[in-house]
């Protein structure tokens, strides 16, 4: 669906994106992770045709982005991080207008219902809360049932229940065979949703793999436990895959002497910090 080769881009004389190479397969959820200013949004702007002064090649849905035709956007849905909605229009009027720009589109009410906005469909967007605007902005990208979705921080500013609702819709879209590019600095969303993630720092791709492989690359999860010995609390730690050989732990379990036990898995954030020396959030 997307092939990027030797992609370079610069806003000034200083290179901003350098020699980026990756491919995104059909039906995949591909995540871009990186701190603010890393180049994620710029990359999304290049892939959506907003920035065309790039060097190298960026092929999206069979078209070189810088020379795309008018039909290019019929198959692409974009959800920017910040809502782009006509504030003076109602939610329904907004969706009706955007739907009218495409050759075909989905019914509006079921989409509104999916994100819990049907009761507010005739309210002006200016009166919406931030979360409501985020949800409306999200379904705007789905209106024309595109094969490729660019989602930039889709759950940003949402309460957990609405974030869950949007993530479920993203997974439903994937199940329908859609390809989704998710730009985020939320490692939990990326771990849960993405088939593969790319770490971007300072305009460069630092790592690209499945979340599981990236996490496993740091080694197995650790099991930490505490127990009492001679009146004091002792802490011990062992890799998860070696617990069977830990005689102390076995004995403590048998004798019910454990004070606490828990596993600690590395997160994408840990991997990110390890690989780049920077934090995601």
């Amino acid at each position: 669906m997307i092939q990027v080769q030797n992609l370079r881009f610069s806003y000034t004389k200083q290179p901003f994106i350098e020699n980026m190479n990756f491919e995104v397969q059909n039906g995949e959820i591909f995540g871009f992770l990186g701190p603010s200013g890393a180049g994620k949004s710029t990359l999304q702007k290049i892939l959506t045709g907003l920035l065309t002064a790039y060097a190298g090649s960026a092929i999206v849905n069979g078209s070189e982005v810088k020379s795309h035709d008018n039909g290019f956007y019929e198959n692409i849905g974009v959800d920017f991080e910040f809502p782009s909605l006509y504030e003076k229009l109602t939610a329904r009027e907004n969706l009706r207008f955007f739907a009218s720009l495409y050759k075909q589109h989905q019914a509006i009410d079921p989409l509104l219902d999916n994100v819990g906005l049907l009761p507010d469909a005739d309210k002006k967007v200016a009166d919406f809360s931030k979360g409501m605007k985020t949800r409306l902005n999200f379904i705007k990208a789905l209106l024309h049932d595109p094969v490729l979705l660019f989602l930039d921080e889709p759950t940003s500013g949402l309460d957990p229940s609405n974030a869950r609702r949007l993530k479920d819709i993203i997974l439903q879209e994937k199940a329908k065979g859609k390809t989704i590019l998710l730009t985020t600095h939320n490692m939990y969303d990326a771990t849960e949703l993405c088939d593969r993630v790319a770490f971007i720092v300072d305009g460069r791709l630092r790592a690209l793999d499945t979340p599981r492989n990236l996490i496993m690359s740091r080694g197995a999860s650790q099991v930490r436990y505490t127990f009492a010995l001679d009146g004091r609390e002792v802490h011990a730690e062992i890799p998860l895959d070696r617990t069977g050989g830990d005689d102390v732990l076995q004995r403590l379990v048998r004798e019910n002497r454990l004070l606490s036990i828990h596993s600690s898995e590395p997160t994408l954030n840990d991997i990110f910090v390890e690989l780049t020396g920077r934090r995601l959030q």
Partner: protein
């Protein structure tokens, strides 16, 4: 074409739902009425009071030029204000990733309004001008003033972050009109200080009735558009 027309239709609807911008658009007709009927009336009063044959009549061509410029200027100003509103709502870059596209956005926000301004200013010049205009001169001067107005819209949008700044910039952009009176009031060598302003060449073209002035008039307007369009395109990306 359908997305473009839909997008332009909503744009016009948005302009007319905004009382300030709607007033600006209607003001072009009011300004034309004032020039056509108010100025000759004032001339009669002034001539009678000062007991002279002509006071303002010598400058009727200047009023006509003002009429030719004010119509596209006002329409393009309203257009730039609405673009700034859309920019605030992140709409400029969003429409660029729909079938409207970046080119469609530029067409529907700059070229279509300028086209309408061109037609309206021809009509107003035909019916409300104070002097006789040779055949073909009215469309020519209206085309030039529309090009300058597009440059003004580019200036307002590119250098303002919001409508408040846009209004302030709009006042400043009025300086671009200063070229119009220069050939009427300044000695021939001093007046060329205003030569970077396209409006100066518009006035020269109409005063001298010499097509040689068409070239600098056209080139200076296109130069302003060229210089400002890069920043404009960067802003909508």
């Amino acid at each position: 074409m359908k997305p473009l027309i839909r997008s332009f239709a909503l744009f016009v609807k948005q302009i007319f739902s905004d009382s300030m911008l709607a007033t600006i658009c209607i003001a072009t007709v009011l300004a034309a009425c004032f020039i056509r009927f108010g100025i000759p009336l004032i001339e009669i009063v002034l001539c009678s009071y000062f007991e002279r044959e002509a006071i303002l009549a010598d400058y009727y061509l200047l009023f006509d030029l003002l009429l030719a410029l004010v119509t596209p200027y006002m329409i393009c100003f309203a257009s730039a204000m609405m673009m700034l509103t859309e920019y605030d709502e992140n709409m400029a870059s969003y429409l660029a990733v729909t079938p409207v596209g970046k080119r469609g956005y530029i067409l529907s926000r700059l070229v279509f309004p300028a086209g309408i301004a061109f037609a309206v200013s021809i009509v107003l010049m035909r019916w409300f001008s104070l002097t006789e205009w040779p055949l073909g001169m009215i469309p020519l001067i209206c085309l030039l003033t529309c090009l300058l107005s597009v440059a003004v819209a580019l200036l307002l949008f590119s250098f303002s972050h919001n409508r408040v700044e846009g209004v302030a910039m709009g006042k400043l952009s009025g300086l671009l009109m200063l070229g119009l009176p220069a050939p009427f009031f300044l000695p021939s060598d001093v007046q060329y200080l205003f030569s970077p302003l396209p409006s100066f060449w518009f006035a020269k073209l109409c005063m001298e009735r010499n097509v040689i002035f068409l070239l600098p008039a056209l080139l200076s307007a296109l130069l302003w558009i060229g210089l400002l369009s890069k920043k404009f395109i960067r802003k909508i990306a």
